[in-house]
Symmetry: C2
Subunit: 352 residues, 2 copies
DNA sequence: CTGAAAGCGCTTACAG
DNA sequence: CTGAAAGCGCTTACAG
């Protein structure tokens, strides 16, 4: 390593000297603290502008020993292991930010229980956090949360699903419509003739809304590119394996000529499991890089999985809170995740 | 923000007190500087271990004002705009590390001129850098470089293509064989009957070696999954448009029944251009998220582009140098990039 | 081989 | 409304 060659950097001391004040006063205007006359305030701000002064955040952190506290509110991983990935992204970010005095508190709710969401919200608000990363799985409950955050001026970032018009810092997650559109193109490639079956598997109505947006994208593709292909639809409102099996039995006995199946979420493994047992061979497309799904990808029963960087979503969520809360960035844009196509051939290289 | 609640952290002062020495001596053993008796050294090290002391790198950086200097050696973007992406990743990392006193010097060579590579190497070695990120496009010249780096104990990271067995910190880039394998699967899906044409477009022999590894992967897929499909091969050793056109004219007049074309690098746009002019409709698969390629993807002339996160390669390259040089991480693994499948439907969401 | 003291660039009471 | 001084946890000459 070499020494810094630059002579004395331009800092508070220099500003103070030029403005004929003490560094304490410079610090006051730097942080918009009151108790400075307009005249000296202007004088100092002019100098800051003229020299394009940037504070040394290293020194600032060392001196202030500030600590930021973020809360995370996401589903627990009991029902599905999908949320393990965002969680590990959150942990990765937390680890990276730890040495800058940032603490991340984690709260989990049950995807089958709206009350558990509200209960965790209470706990979070007791903590006086500086920012919140939340998966707004339940729309109404999420709005209750944002209302309370707005009152307290706590900024929040939405992850994985969006509730538009809620004054969030930003949304980080998939563009649902477009991911359905992509699924359709893959289906169009792989299925030359016959019918296509679209399956929504979901208990909770809130989740179902998100699936509908993917369905719209899927249909939009065929509307535009291949109107002849017939799309059948199956809603499965129970997620236990026997309900799924019954529903599949029914549709495949009633409908002949189904060549491709698109499952609009990670439940695709349940369909794959069924195909395996019944030795059914069709093009099968679904969502998410989960162990079960990868197993069937490897077996050649699932052809394509669409994945949307769940780990990255968690990582970016925390980093975005940091950018907003600590680095005072504004106008942070929504961050749509890439629409990754995962296959038997490339899954080993996939970065969540 | 809340104040740190923890009482006085455990630091050099505490260690010094416990060991009955001054903090200067503690600093000496912390940095393995000589001039400390074995006895006190042991005493201090024991305390460090016992309390699992971790230095405050914020304070350390502020006090030392250390600066690290990395060099980057990559192709200039005159011939192809591929290298703009790694460059922008490098800039992004440089920007993030700037406030930690890390400086990145950039050097460029001409992909058509091995001498220019060696010339830049001389310039870099004059700079006494602390680390090097290099695209070893020319194998022999790269080995000359690594030899000289080894003498000077300058660590180096390979990016985009590898030269195995060279004692690099690690390799960051695509797994060529597997990316060819993935291309073959897409081709297999999209082409049901007929022949497939594989095209290598490359002037320099060194680049050609890399293309061969993709070709091997491509063939391996069909060897395993679909032996019936016939694979034709075309080498184009000149990269100007009229040479490419002549070669394509020749192959398409001689060979009938070609349904799919796989171009093993980013030159796929040249083939797409040809298809457009001659109104040829075939499945076309190639490499890299370049403006020209995206244009033909949008037009539906190219179906799939395989991309390997060029921006990310640059970013990771610098960050890896930082991890090795400044954070003293060891055993850093090779980092294979994901094999991204980019289509007309998802390219808008692609993160380079 | 070891220590006392100044300093990195900022922040924070405290005093006026 | 403003300033002098101490301090954040480490590093760096300098002196012995």
């Amino acid at each position: 390593m070499s020494k810094s060659l630059e002579n004395k950097e331009f800092g508070v001391k220099q500003i103070a000297r030029l403005a004929n004040v003490s560094i304490a006063t410079v610090d006051r205007v730097l942080h918009n603290r009151k108790g400075v006359s307009e005249a000296t305030k202007k004088r100092i701000n002019d100098i800051i502008k003229e020299f394009d002064y940037k504070p040394n955040i290293i020194a600032s952190r060392l001196a202030s020993k500030k600590v930021s506290k973020y809360a995370v509110l996401i589903p627990s991983s009991t029902e599905t292991d999908f949320w393990e990935a965002p969680l590990s992204g959150i942990d990765r970010a937390a680890k990276a930010l730890k040495q800058y005095g940032i603490v991340v508190l984690k709260f989990f709710f049950d995807l089958n229980d709206k009350q558990s969401f509200l209960k965790q919200v209470d706990l979070i608000l007791e903590e006086a956090v500086d920012g919140l990363l939340v998966a707004p799985s339940f729309v109404e409950e999420a709005i209750q949360l944002t209302t309370r955050c707005n009152e307290r001026k706590i900024p929040y970032v939405f992850i994985n699903s969006d509730v538009p018009g809620q004054n969030s810092v930003c949304y980080i997650g998939p563009h649902l419509f477009c991911s359905g559109y992509q699924a359709a193109q893959l289906m169009d490639f792989a299925v030359k003739t016959g019918k296509v079956l679209l399956i929504n598997v979901s208990k909770e109505l809130d989740q179902y809304h998100h699936l509908l947006r993917k369905e719209e994208g899927f249909r939009a593709y065929f509307e535009k590119n291949n109107k002849k292909l017939q799309i059948l639809k199956l809603d499965i409102k129970q997620t236990d394996s026997s309900s799924i099996e019954d529903a599949l039995d029914k549709v495949f006995s009633e409908q002949k000529g189904i060549e491709g199946v698109f499952v609009t979420n990670s439940r695709v493994s349940a369909v794959a499991h069924y195909f395996e047992r019944k030795s059914i061979v069709k093009v099968l497309i679904g969502y998410d890089f989960l162990k079960e799904n990868i197993k069937y990808l490897e077996l050649g029963i699932i052809q394509f999985l669409i994945c949307q960087k769940p780990e990255e979503q968690g990582y970016r969520g925390i980093m975005t809170l940091h950018r907003y809360t600590d680095l005072h960035e504004r106008r942070i844009e929504d961050q749509f995740m890439p629409i990754d196509i995962v296959t038997k051939e490339n899954y080993r290289f996939y970065h969540n």
